[in-house]
Amino acid sequence: MATSKPPRTANRWQVARLVERRVETRTAQTLVLEVPDWPGHLPGQHVDLRLTAPDGYQAARSYSIAGPVVDGPGGPRVEVTVQRVHDGEVSPYLIDVFGDGDPLEVRGPLGGWFIWRPEETAPVQLVAGGSGIVPLMAMIRARRAAGSKVPFRLIYSVRTPSDVIYADELRRRVRDDFGLDIAYVYTREAPEGWRGEPHRIGLADVNTHGWPPDLQPLTYVCGPTAFVETVADLLVGLGHPSRQVKTERFGPTG
């Protein structure tokens, strides 16, 4: 795999400001940050955010970048989607307190492995658990932005229909983005008229809605650790080579 030199700006903290906020679900919001020296990024990469209190206390967390960089009047804009972690130290602040124009520090982009390059030609399957959709959405958005015709399949596991992040956009993209298919798995409560019972993701879901191994797809799985573990085991069991199954686990770090 060709790897470009990491840009120097990825190594240092720089100030970013909140320029826009979008409510995605009851517990998730997208923050649009203006980052003047942002060097650009690939879909799937993440960024570290750091908060500092008046007495110097700091807390840093990693967030997946949700979409391609956008040019704004004050410089490049980077979007992250933040899921509220109950009793968390950072996410409740970002959702409830952090205001328009307020500063924080960012470092990135980070992660050169869980990435999809728009010049790739292999079919892609994406498997998301909860807010694990975020870096996968970045790939879906980048595919469209690059005019890629590579077929994408997304399997998205959520507790209830109201927990679907980017719900409207996903509906629109299934209609407009040729070659994008989406299947949902509901673990607690399914929508009206949905066939089947709520269940945890299993072999049938992956087998029916993913790509067969002989198409040699690239696979990206993102979600809580136990979810990723289950899905990765299912995929490898179906015959997908484990090095083609890229995973990103996240824990509740708040």
Binding site: L51, Y57, Q58, F98, D102, P103, E105
Partner: protein, 199 residues
């Protein structure tokens, strides 16, 4: 210092007299882990004290349970800055376990199922200050908190209270354990805030 984000406070850092410097109070019981959680069946569990002269003292689970039991209620302080007050345990005092061990060693290296190690002065395991505990809040100690049995040395940072403890190796020289070989303090007194080497 970085640029201040307006309104950000972070975890409460107010000083309470019962808390060592730099600690915050928590009501829940955070699970820290540096590796997979070992599952140790009770019928093969054992605790071994190996003295510096090569002699060994062993206890099976039944033998540990047959020893005099104590019920310490203690405050615990994790180096990741949470403290939990008034925790209830049941187990066997290290005074009891060390009573018949003939040793001139000054240090102990506690070792665990799963490979974890931590070093302590042997004196800190004596004098009613250290236990091998198997019960928390009246119930068997869950595996994620170190069950079947863990060390409890509450006057030192909690990483010294080795989970899944399997034994002690008594030593004439101090041998740093898992975290102590990666920057953490050899003694770890929370009241003197001995977090890292050199503190």
């Amino acid at each position: 210092m970085g640029i201040v984000s307006p309104g950000f406070q972070g975890r409460p850092r107010t000083q309470e007299p019962a808390l060592p410097p730099g600690q915050y109070l928590t009501e829940d019981f955070p699970v820290l882990s540096a590796g997979p959680t070992p599952r140790v069946p009770l019928d093969t569990w054992e605790f071994v004290i190996a003295a510096e002269n090569g002699s060994e003292h062993r206890w099976s689970w039944q033998e540990l349970m047959a020893l005099p039991q104590e019920t310490p209620m203690v405050d615990i302080h994790c180096v990741t800055r949470w403290s939990k007050l008034g925790t209830n345990w049941q187990g066997v005092s290290l005074d009891t376990l060390l009573a018949d061990v003939d040793t001139g060693a000054h240090f102990a290296l506690a070792h665990s199922y799963g490979g974890y190690t931590t070093n302590l002065p042997l004196d800190d395991l004596r004098g009613g200050r250290a236990w091998v505990v198997h019960t928390f809040d009246g119930a068997p100690l869950p595996a994620e908190h170190g069950g079947p049995a863990r060390l409890l040395v509450p006057h030192l940072y909690f990483w010294k209270s080795a989970k899944w403890v399997r034994g002690l190796r008594l030593k004439t020289m101090d041998e740093p354990g898992f975290w102590e070989t990666a920057g953490y303090h050899d003694y770890g007194d929370p009241w003197r805030e001995q977090r890292y080497q050199g503190d």
